[in-house]
């Protein structure tokens, strides 16, 4: 343990993480995981409008095609991406030999994640918006 243990106060707790990629992965995995759990509940509630029929559902979906919601959805993807890729890293560390190369795995998570994030951004803000304009009007 480092000399600043036990840390007091949340600032100190946060600062104690700065050195290690594994600690950051742990913190980010928790934050993204809690957010995604909240989102899956929102997702279920939002899709309940399917029971109200075509008009109710399609008008709700129009709202989710606005630029603001596309932008929010893009960041939802970022959360999911980190959680999913780091989750694979965790599975490799825990169930395979990943502990031998967990730092490399972390950098792979960040690099692959960023590539997929911008790739999805390109798809969403070109294709999705074009289709939404063309198919709705």
């Amino acid at each position: 343990m480092s000399s600043n243990y036990p840390p007091t106060g949340w600032v100190k707790v946060l600062l104690a993480y700065h050195k290690f990629s594994g600690s950051w992965a742990w913190v980010l995995h928790r934050i993204t995981g809690l957010a995604l759990t909240g989102y899956i509940m929102l997702h279920i509630i939002a899709l309940m409008s399917l029971q109200k029929g075509k008009e109710a559902f399609d008008s709700e979906m129009l709202l989710f095609r606005t630029p603001l919601f596309l932008f929010l959805e893009w960041f939802l993807f970022a959360f999911l991406l980190f959680h999913a890729l780091n989750g694979i890293r965790i599975a490799l560390v825990d169930l395979a030999e990943g502990a031998r190369y967990h730092k490399k795995l972390y950098y792979a998570v960040v690099i692959i994640g960023l590539l997929l994030f911008f790739g999805m951004g390109y798809i969403m803000f070109t294709q999705d918006t074009l289709h939404s304009v063309a198919s709705v009007k």
Partner: protein, 117 residues
């Protein structure tokens, strides 16, 4: 760990293992989900497209599995976060109870929506 603080006498090993297994399953299903939703936005975001997919009982079963496993993984993970903090027994039982209730309630809402077609 003590049952006094965490409301569990078990080692947690089965749920630790399940968390990894469900995580890998969700990883695979989520890839399919994203392709379906964004390959063409209408495929994921119109009533007609959803209705057409829901005619397939296998697809319905997949959706129900997705909802249940997703909620399990999320709420079990939330409980893992809470378990890291020392708290009185009544509080940990209350939190655990709320997480179970949320799980059953939201799984019920999701499954009811899927089965309404």
């Amino acid at each position: 760990m003590s049952s006094k603080y965490y409301g569990s006498r078990g080692s947690g090993a089965p749920s630790w293992y399940l968390q990894r297994v469900t995580g890998v399953v969700l990883f695979v299903v989520a890839i399919g989900h994203y392709i379906l939703m964004h390959y063409h936005i209408d495929s994921g975001h119109t009533y007609d497209a959803v209705l057409a997919r829901m005619q397939n009982p296998l697809y319905k079963m997949l959706q129900i599995t997705f909802v249940v496993i997703g909620l399990y993984h999320g709420l079990s993970g939330t409980w893992n976060v809470f378990r890291d903090y020392k708290m009185p027994g009544w509080l940990s039982w209350t939190i655990l109870g709320l997480l179970y209730t949320a799980g059953v309630a939201f799984a019920g809402l999701g499954i009811a929506t899927i089965l309404s077609f």
